[in-house]
């Protein structure tokens, strides 16, 4: 069976995320578009995951707990978890490692936390677009400790993509997936061995994927086996 996914969506908590990207709006838009599996991956925080998970359950959309970490090399790495608690604990460690630079909302945008009733319940103080103190390798091992997987995000992007920044994918890491933002065929030899995830990296509602990219699964619960998250 085909299950349509978009595993890279930013909420209003990400400084660059549009203010329309509230948990309710994201879930409803995903529902309207006919997506079955989504993940909210805010920059260096997991504080909106609880509301999203609650609403996803209500609407029958599988929500994979996720985060987009900025490594100290300024590479963006997606991390996915099976258990919400693991994701939240990992998110706290990541946020703690951000430098103490305050967000300037006028320049970078607001960093709002919501509950599942669409009420703003808080705001994060530290600038989330900054780099954490962890390397790509550190994030790989750290996410493993929380039973998560790592996926290099938008690998071809010049800024923050692993190929653009490092020029290669560290071969000693057992990565299974890479993320690309369009469904073009991958010609790079070094990338052929990876399974590609095609995600939107949506920062506004219209950018959330149409039902185009799918996983062939027996049941929706098999998504974790597919992603090799146990």
């Amino acid at each position: 069976m085909k299950f349509y996914y978009d595993l890279h969506i930013h909420s209003d908590l990400s400084p660059c995320g549009n203010s329309d990207m509230t948990p309710n709006n994201i879930i409803n838009m995903s529902y309207i578009k006919g997506l079955n599996i989504i993940s909210i991956t805010d920059h260096n925080t997991t504080k909106n995951l609880s509301a999203i998970a609650f609403l996803g359950k209500k609407m029958g959309i599988k929500v994979i707990p996720g985060i987009e970490v900025t490594t100290k090399e300024e590479v963006h790495i997606l991390c996915y978890f099976k258990a919400l608690d693991d994701a939240l604990a990992f998110g706290n460690v990541i946020y703690d490692s951000l430098p103490n630079i305050k967000n300037n909302t006028k320049i970078f945008g607001e960093q709002n936390i919501y509950n599942h009733n669409e009420e703003k319940i808080g705001e994060l103080d530290k600038l989330l677009i900054n780099a954490t103190s962890y390397s790509v390798e550190d994030i790989y091992y750290l996410s493993k400790r929380y039973h998560g997987i790592t996926v290099p995000a938008h690998v071809y992007k010049k800024s923050n993509g692993i190929l653009g920044v490092l020029g290669f994918i560290p071969i000693d890491l057992e990565l299974n997936f890479i993320e690309v933002t369009s469904n073009e065929e991958i010609k790079d030899k070094q990338l052929k061995k990876y399974i590609k995830l095609v995600n939107s990296d949506a920062h506004q509602l219209v950018d959330i994927s149409e039902p185009e990219n799918f996983m062939n699964l027996d049941s929706i619960e098999d998504v974790y086996r597919y992603l090799k998250i146990y």
Partner: protein, 110 residues
Amino acid sequence: MKNLDLASNLKLEPLLVTNKEIQIEGVYIGDLLSIAMSKAKENFLWITIQTHVNIVAIAELLDLSCIIIVEGMEIEDETLNKAKELDIPIFKTKDSAYQVACRLHTMGIK
């Protein structure tokens, strides 16, 4: 110094013509935005190969005097539009950061 004077002294292509007086009290060279954010200071000139729109956000945040993109990197429209909006002088050149730094040195910026 005026925008166009700085451009001609340093052999740069100005991407934004502005009347803003450019004061240079120091120079920062580097491409990791997080490091630039913590090391560059007010009225510093910033030399980088990064072209993402966030370079302009950082220049605004720190009150940098201008940005010079080196190595002929192609600059996104979004970045230029943001620079225009925030009135942050931005230049480009095919030369390397080192070559620009040497010219700055001869200009007396040390």
